[in-house]
């Protein structure tokens, strides 16, 4: 059985530049190490024969290709016990989690815009960056609609002051209110889903970036930042995986 950890990291590698991510547990890690090591060796041999360097480079490329092909083949060959929700399932899931109705016209319009970009079936191996972009577009509309609706946002994120300015709304104590509420509502699978402690640390990093230069912003900025946090949690694998 192909390990979920490896699979998730493979998805990470597809989704954002592999240079940003430490790919651990997958065959490609060795390939990257091999590149770095041999690049260094190449540097040391600057004054050596170009032919030797070229030969070594070809050898490195061959190794990378072999390992890369091997990794991709092993992914293609293996049954996995995790799936990706399709376009209907993602839309219905977001609707249920946010309490925003499927017949909301803004949701209908956005869903129509991104529907073809969302997964057709549940095959996790079909996951690509364009799918994640479509998921996040749809999640953004759901979160925007949620945060814009006073009764809905009060129900989903109780105790958070959406009317406060950015610095007050996201103070060290109140930022926990929104993050914990989003986890509780959107990530019902605490054990089987993402590790919430790690996720929270990452969200706080996001929050500090979102707040930069916006500390004096009013309720509109607060809502915008809250929508960003909401989108990050809603569009994650915890809600889009089967």
């Amino acid at each position: 059985m192909f390990k979920k950890k490896c699979l998730n990291l493979y998805i990470l590698a597809i989704a954002i530049s592999s240079s940003l991510i430490g790919i651990q547990g997958c065959g490609k890690k060795n390939a990257f190490k091999s590149v770095e090591k041999n690049a260094s060796q190449d540097s040391e041999k600057k004054n050596g024969s170009n032919e030797i360097i070229l030969e070594e480079k070809n050898s490195i490329d061959d190794n990378i290709n072999k390992e890369s092909n091997s990794t991709e083949q092993s992914i293609a060959d293996n049954n996995v016990d995790v799936g990706l929700k399709n376009f209907l399932q993602i839309n219905a899931t977001f609707s249920i989690l946010t309490d925003v109705k499927l017949d909301n016209q803004n949701i209908i319009d956005t869903f129509d815009d991104v529907k073809l970009q969302l997964p057709t079936d549940n095959d996790i191996k079909s996951f690509s960056p364009s799918i994640q972009v479509a998921i996040s577009k749809l999640a953004t509309q759901y979160c925007y609609t949620l945060i814009s609706d006073v009764s809905l946002r009060t129900k989903i994120i109780p105790g958070f002051d959406f009317t406060a300015n950015v610095s007050d709304a996201f103070s060290s104590t109140s930022q926990d209110i929104i993050i914990n509420a989003l986890f509780k509502k959107f990530w019902i699978d605490e054990k089987g889903g993402p590790d919430q402690k790690t996720a929270k640390a990452t969200l706080l990093t996001l929050l500090s970036e979102l707040k930069k230069g916006e500390e004096s912003g009013g309720a509109t900025k607060t809502a915008a930042i809250a929508t960003g946090l909401c989108t990050a949690v809603l569009a994650s694998s915890a809600t889009t995986f089967l």
């Binding site: 399709n86 209907l88 249920i96 109705k101 699978d189 089987g192 889903g193 996001l206 694998s237």
Partner: protein, 415 residues
């Protein structure tokens, strides 16, 4: 309230920060931990069956049931979620309604009938044999079942995206659709060969449109026996029912006919006579609009069965809607055909297919693949034995699809 777009002041901030959001979206794809507890199993059962997460109340109830060893009862709660019908069943059968095999289609009489029969715990074999149709409830608007369009069903789904499956109403094709078909051919008055989805408009425009109606036979096998025509090829089948439009010496070589063409056509042409009275064609409606019209012409073999008859005039000339199953011997005997091996019309053909062993196996494989995310083309010995067990349970449960989903979900609860 408006759609989120790049022109709003709100979106400027979000756009500025979008790269962070995308980054964090990806970073939040953390490794799920092992699935072991009752709650995790309950979540998995619900997600796989309904395609959506359970509510907190349902999750609590399901978790308690799983903890007390009542996983099947927990699965029943997931099946009660409207999205089991709205999404899972809809999505499972949607690709069978069209030759493109896409699931991005609207509700139709075909899908409504499948959904309704499963909702009402019907013997699912009736999907190919019963005088049954599910429709939107009759309302004050002017829409009704039409030979020319699917508007009634589309509008109903659009107006009720979260509840259309619950609202479908059971009826009889002999009452609901017969009058509309009769308007185009009076002989329909004496037609009583209604056969579930095989006599719906969606099946007609999907497979009776143009061509030779062989597509109907191909997709009947592909959808309900999980066997495409090339998987049924058998060159030992007698070829006396192959129609006139098939050359016996393609490219001047009669060996090609015997070794290739006859392998499919001998069995296929012998069975596709059942569709001889059915057609779907482009025409103009009363408002002079182009429409795709479904018609039945009882007692009159459609012209498409004689198209290119000059290719081999000594070939079989279709006389009526009779059919014979020449695949009952040879390689395709393994399908497990039961009952009469020849008959007339689509209903008896539906009986032949739905009573075969392979029908139950095909439905089981599709459900198991969907619920357990398995590639059923590469099952190991253990998984094959699971399929055998589920097929047996499906047949003893009166071919109840809900029960099949519940039983299948128990086979992949997680470690």
């Amino acid at each position: 309230m408006h759609q989120f777009n790049a022109d709003t002041s709100f979106s400027k901030l979000a756009r500025k920060q979008s790269c962070y959001v995308i980054l964090i979206l990806t970073l939040l794809n953390f490794t799920p931990q092992s699935l072991a507890g009752s709650k995790e199993q309950a979540i998995r059962i619900h997600s796989r069956i309904a395609g959506v997460p359970p509510s907190q109340e349902v999750l609590k109830e399901m978790t308690e049931l799983v903890a007390s060893g009542k996983q099947k009862e927990a699965a029943s709660l997931a099946i009660a979620n409207p999205n089991f019908l709205n999404i899972t069943i809809f999505d499972m059968f949607a690709p069978f309604t069209n030759e493109n095999e896409t699931n991005r289609v609207n509700l139709s009489d075909y899908l409504a009938t499948v959904i309704g029969m499963i909702r009402d715990n019907s013997d699912f074999r009736g999907v190919l044999t019963e005088d049954v149709i599910y429709t939107p409830p009759i309302s004050n608007d002017t829409l009704s079942w039409s030979t020319d369009n699917n508007t009634w069903y589309e509008k109903f789904q659009e107006d009720n995206p979260e509840s259309f499956s619950d609202l479908l109403v059971k009826g009889k094709q002999s009452i609901v659709i017969k009058p509309a078909l009769q308007a185009h051919d009076q002989n329909v008055a004496n037609f009583n060969d209604w056969a579930g989805i095989l006599t719906t408009r969606e099946f007609a425009v999907g497979y009776y449109f143009d061509g030779t109606n062989r597509a109907a036979l191909r997709y009947l096998g592909k959808s309900f026996l999980c066997k495409d025509i090339d998987q049924l090829t058998d060159t030992t089948t007698p070829d006396y029912r192959i129609r006139q439009d098939i050359s016996r010496q393609p490219a001047g070589n009669s060996n090609v006919f015997k070794s290739k063409c006859a392998g499919c056509h001998s069995g296929m042409d012998a069975l596709s006579g059942a569709f001889a009275y059915f057609d779907a064609t482009e025409t103009k409606d009363a408002s002079n609009m182009n429409v795709l019209r479904y018609t039945i012409s009882p007692g009159k073999v459609h012209n498409k069965y004689f198209r290119d008859a000059q290719v081999f005039p000594a070939g079989y000339a279709t006389k009526d809607d009779g059919w014979v199953n020449l695949w009952s011997e040879g390689a395709n005997k393994s399908i497990g055909w039961t009952g009469p091996q020849k008959g007339s019309g689509v209903r008896s053909l539906g009986v032949l297919y739905s009573r075969s062993n392979e029908f139950a196996r095909c439905m089981t494989k599709r459900v198991y693949a969907r619920v357990c995310l398995k590639n059923v083309e590469t099952l190991n010995i253990e998984e094959k034995s699971i399929i055998d067990e589920l097929v047996n349970k499906f047949s003893t449960s009166n071919y109840n699809m809900k029960d099949l989903f519940a039983e299948s979900s128990l086979k992949c609860l997680g470690d």
